[in-house]
Symmetry: C2
Subunit: 305 residues, 2 copies
């Protein structure tokens, strides 16, 4: 793969940024990758493990001369970071981000972007429950989707960023920002909130001990705990910044849940059976689309010989 950007700046050095660095190196996509993180500890970890070609002690220093600047900070920090770096961006540079919410990020970053700089918002739909500079790996984006919400951005730079994400391993699609936020409320934000809630309930229930919850989690609950182990700051900001879509989907969710609850109370087995049969088909679609393994329990068990 040829170098696509002479200098790339990563602002924020968590799971996504560190994975982007290793994926850029794998495909030789950048001349130099510079990085910055607010915490001194994160910066020294990055230096120790060789994350980025150069770690800067300020965001301003990191973006100077960069052709591509990617904001990899929690959604709630986008506004202040954009305000800080804006006067120091190189003319013709591209600013992008990896935020899980797009309308709020566009509203936060957009106004700070100076004339002659391009802003192309992006969201890679990839991650794990782990976080921090040591959690990244080059394969994170392989075969996963990255959604661009160009919002009127320059078409040449948008097309180039698309190629960049493809070279990182992703499949790329473009979407309108509000629709993105609704889709993600369904496929990500509401499931996370529900998982957090269920784990909180289990943790808080006096009549069932923590040891019981932990030991007997293999019957379904442990899958929820993986999701509910995700980064608290990132997720707080997601919910605060995708409020309307999340509340809408939550409303639909509780409506359906109450219908199933009523079926249980009334002993309506047909309703339950029909519902559970329909949801099984969705799983098949996800496996067929290559978005998950069909190995039992995600392959946690050895396969039958």
């Amino acid at each position: 793969m040829a170098v696509m950007y002479d200098r790339v700046a990563l602002i924020g050095l968590g799971l996504i940024a560190s994975s982007m660095f290793w994926a850029m190196k794998r495909a030789d996509l950048a001349g130099e990758v510079v990085g910055y993180a607010r915490s001194e500890e994160t910066r020294s970890t990055a230096r120790r493990i060789g994350l980025c070609d150069r770690i800067c002690d300020s965001a301003i220093e990191a973006v100077e001369g960069a052709d591509l600047v990617i904001l990899c900070v929690p959604v709630g920090a986008m506004d202040s970071v954009a305000a800080q770096i804006a006067p120091h961006l190189k003319s013709g540079a591209v600013v992008s981000d990896v935020g899980s919410v797009k309308r709020a990020v566009i509203d936060a970053i957009g106004p700070h972007i100076p004339e002659g700089v391009h802003f192309v918002p992006a969201h890679p739909l990839a991650g794990t429950e782990q976080s921090g500079p040591e959690s990244g790996f080059a394969e994170l984006f392989d075969n996963r989707w990255c959604l661009l919400t160009p919002n009127g951005a320059d078409t040449f730079e948008t097309a180039k960023l698309r190629k960049f994400w493809e070279a990182l391993g992703s499949k790329v699609d473009e979407m309108e920002a509000d629709h993105h936020d609704l889709v993600l409320a369904v496929t990500s934000h509401t499931p996370h909130l529900i998982a957090y809630t269920m784990v909180g309930v289990a943790d808080d229930l006096g009549r069932v001990t923590d040891t019981e919850v932990v030991n007997f989690s293999a019957a379904g609950f442990r899958d929820f705990t993986r999701i509910a182990a995700s980064d608290p700051t990132m997720w707080r900001d997601v919910f605060l910044n995708n409020k309307d879509a999340t509340l809408e989907i939550l409303g639909r969710f509780t409506e359906e849940l109450f219908a199933l609850q009523r079926a249980i109370r009334q002993g309506d087995g047909d309703h339950l059976h029909d519902y559970f049969t329909r949801t099984r088909a969705v799983r098949r679609g996800i496996i067929d689309a290559g978005q998950d393994t069909d190995a039992a329990n995600f392959g946690r068990y050895p396969a039958k010989s």
Copy 2:
């Protein structure tokens, strides 16, 4: 391992029964294992793949002369199966089951058990989203818990069944039936209902296409679809037969969910952050207890080199 029961009869030949067969063979725990399934198709599949030493065409034939009879049918079928086999049980035989609910199963099976036959209810907390006679494998129970709810059963036979489950690979604990049902409502039944609900909502939402849901599922939703792909009949019966505990935990769940929903609506970031930080610790406990992998995304990704 020495033979523990000369003849074992498995009634119902799904994921659990077929895994028990392979695990019994692995440890040489039974002289002969006979099997029966209601469906002709399942019986011929079993014969084709060598599941069980002998497949019978009736439950009555299968239990005749058996020292251990294990009912591996959905909870809602326990009553009629028990009624059918009861007159044909060998004196001194042990009847057990693998139902996910224990109070209702005790009420369904208990009254049919003749004098001189022992009934020791059991529930192995193991499974995958797959079902049917071809889905089983010998390692399913390794390091997973099996809960016995003896309900006054003979202590010698209870201790022997405990050893049997340990020889299948399980860790074993004993519990009072009602407490079992509450614990499982938390660690299994309510999480399943919630996952089914969320997948149903996504499938049903006109403004987000099925293709979008499927393609963009990697952001959290796909974990729910795995759980929601479980056997519909089994799960219908679980909810119909653990009604009170499930409704109680659902009540607690919606209470918590509404509190988080309110925090989102009011922009209370501290409430959200505190909650998400607390739930992270539960995950750590499950990994430390050996009940899940700490590999990112359940190890679905290659590890960073």
